[in-house]
Amino acid sequence: MKINNRETGRLAEELAGKALIEKGYTILENNFSNRYGEIDIIAKDKDTYVFVEVKAKKGVDFGLPEEMINPHKLRKVKNMALIYMKGETLPCRIDVIAIVLSPTNELVRLSHYENVYM
């Protein structure tokens, strides 16, 4: 089960990356991580740094991927973003990409929410 989830996540991050490139974003980092946490994708939209949290679900029987994002998770992303920017004040924002996959790993829905805060 665990391996399965990780695979779903990796696939979702791939799909999210593609979607961002299509929108004209530049991908800077994938899975930027240290012992405090992880940012799935760091991209650049023109001059703005975009820290992207990707959340994927296989089917919606156990809820929408959107429901799995909470203030605690966003705070973790924010802290990681601060580490990434090394104290510099840069134009930046946090985005969430919610992905629903079918049981056979086909993309059902991909929603990109810009500038998410709770």
């Binding site: 929408l64 959107e66 429901e67 994002i69 969430v96 929410y113 998410v116 805060y117 709770m118």
Partner: protein, 514 residues
């Protein structure tokens, strides 16, 4: 899309309109937030509304939902905003359209349960009265179990809603809900079940007479005597001889019970005069009223009825002292951080005390085992100002064994509750006639000094008698006027227009101190 649903907030007995603004945005990260000084109970509406909508086979939109309860600076409490919020979500997400309903004239109020049914909610009567003041076109949508509360209010349409899906069917014209039919307020309300009949109590003729006077004029009464002589029983019998509530009185008392959520589901009006007997472990907030969103205390729940304090010296002194202001003014003002609230508290105080800690002081046969110091200490638990507010002091002495005999025929000369009640009702009728033009004044005991001068009809001989007694026993100014009020009630019981010396003499007899 943004919709505005109207609801209300009850601050004490005052009703304020609240606009429930619900916005379901087409952009933004999905979420559900409630703003507008919502308490924990209102904030938890999020989970109830969400689950209730899903369980009513409707869609909860996965979008950014913002609810604002305006005015934003007024603290909101209670679960009654569940219904307006749920309806707002359904309308704002386009699942429900109501072209033929004027939402500005409709009020929604009620708590949702997770399966989408509506639960009994307190304060419906106040919503009904508020809607009545707005004019005849107003419609209120309230939970079915509590709708009866508003059923006696004319000039407003009450729609009893039993579930969220029923309301949806109503609005989409699939199946209309029939509005509640107006019930007439009965002239007088009385469904008292008599727990103790006065005739059941052996002896104690003087105490029974005092009970009748207390019930007729709403006078405060204190009974003292050794244990087991029938003080508690007499007080319980009092609830059986209290006069029925008039329609305006019933409405006044029911409002307080509606706010407290003490009406049973389906109950429209309080069925009899309140008789409250709190235990002496009661807290100050429980007695006077309190809480962060102040609720009525025992003094307000006993409004227009009886507050019975059994074993009065056992009550903490601070609580007894806090009764002083409500007893004098007939209202109690509670001030908390959330604001201040005024509740009516015009009650008749009935107290029962023992003469000393062991209870047998001045007993004809038993010996008192208390020391002088113990007795003084016990007496000091009740302060002078409280005793000064008591009109009728009644000694309840041990009953002679002859009167206890079950097989004898000596029960025939005692007054039964039915007879006593008839006397009380007759005296109240006289008072009703007298205070026809005075609003909120029902009994002799509620008279202010100006009323005493106006309605007293004291003969010079009676006043002379009172003056002599007042000089001899050093009555306070308050006692002086209280004595006139008690003698007024005795005169009413006797059917006399004037207060004659004989009435005054009887009133003076109840004035003796312990």
């Amino acid at each position: 899309m943004l919709v505005k649903i109207r609801s209300i907030a009850n601050i004490g007995l005052e009703t304020v309109p609240v606009d429930v603004e619900v916005d379901v945005a087409s952009v933004g990260f999905p979420g559900f937030t409630i703003v507008g000084l919502a308490s924990k109970a209102v904030d938890e509406a999020r989970e109830r509304v969400k689950t209730a909508i899903v369980n009513s086979k409707l869609d909860f939109p996965p979008r950014k939902i913002t609810v604002n309860l305006a005015p934003a600076d007024l603290p909101k409490d209670g679960a009654a905003y569940d219904l307006p919020i749920a309806l707002g979500v359904l309308l704002a997400s386009g699942q429900l359209v109501t072209p033929d309903i004027d939402l500005t004239k409709s009020f929604f109020y009620g708590e949702l349960s997770l399966d989408g049914t509506l639960r009994p909610t307190r304060g419906i009567l106040l919503l009904g009265l508020f809607a009545q003041s707005l004019g005849p076109a107003t419609v209120i949508y309230v939970p079915y179990p509590s709708a009866a509360e508003a059923g006696m209010i004319s000039g407003t349409t009450v729609v009893p809603v039993s579930s969220l899906s029923q309301l949806v069917a109503h609005f989409s014209n699939i199946q209309k809900i029939a509005p509640l039919r107006l019930k007439k307020i009965p002239e007088s309300v009385d469904f008292t079940t008599v727990e103790f009949d006065l005739a059941e109590i052996a002896g104690q003729e003087q105490a029974k007479r005092a009970l009748i006077i207390a019930a007729a004029g709403g006078h405060n009464l204190l009974m003292w005597g050794p244990p087991g002589t029938g003080k508690t029983m007499l007080s319980k019998a009092l609830s059986g001889i209290l006069p029925p509530l008039s329609s305006s009185e019933a409405l006044e008392v029911t409002r307080i019970y509606s706010v407290s959520g003490l009406l049973n589901p389906g109950q429209a009006l309080l069925s009899s005069r309140p008789f409250r007997s709190p235990h002496h472990g009661i807290s100050g907030a429980g007695m006077i009223g309190g809480g962060s969103n102040p609720l009525p205390g025992e003094v307000s729940l006993a409004h227009l009825g009886v507050l019975f304090l059994d074993e009065m010296p056992e009550f903490p002194r601070s609580i007894l002292e806090s009764l002083r202001q409500p007893m004098e003014d007939g209202t109690v003002e509670i001030v908390r951080a959330a604001g201040h609230v005024k509740y009516p508290s015009s009650f008749t105080l009935v107290a029962a005390i023992n003469p000393c800690p062991c209870g047998y002081l001045n007993h004809p046969r038993k010996e008192c085992k208390c020391t002088e110091r113990q007795i003084t200490k016990y007496r000091h638990r009740i302060s002078g100002p409280i005793l000064d507010r008591i009109d009728l002091f009644v000694p309840v002495s041990p009953v002679e064994t002859e009167k206890l005999a079950i097989t004898g025929s000596n029960l025939s000369n005692t007054v039964s509750s039915v007879v006593a009640k008839a006397q009380v009702i007759k005296a109240r009728k006289v008072q009703e006639e007298r205070f026809k033009k005075e609003i909120g004044l029902y009994t002799n005991s509620q008279m202010k000094n100006a009323h005493v001068k106006k309605h007293g009809f004291l003969t010079p001989e009676s006043e002379n008698l009172l003056r002599v007694a007042a000089n001899k026993f050093d009555f306070s100014a308050r006692s002086y006027f209280r004595l006139i009020k008690v003698s007024r009630t005795i005169a009413d019981l006797e059917g006399s227009k004037q207060i004659l010396p004989v009435h005054m003499a009887e009133a003076l007899q109840y004035r003796q101190m312990i």
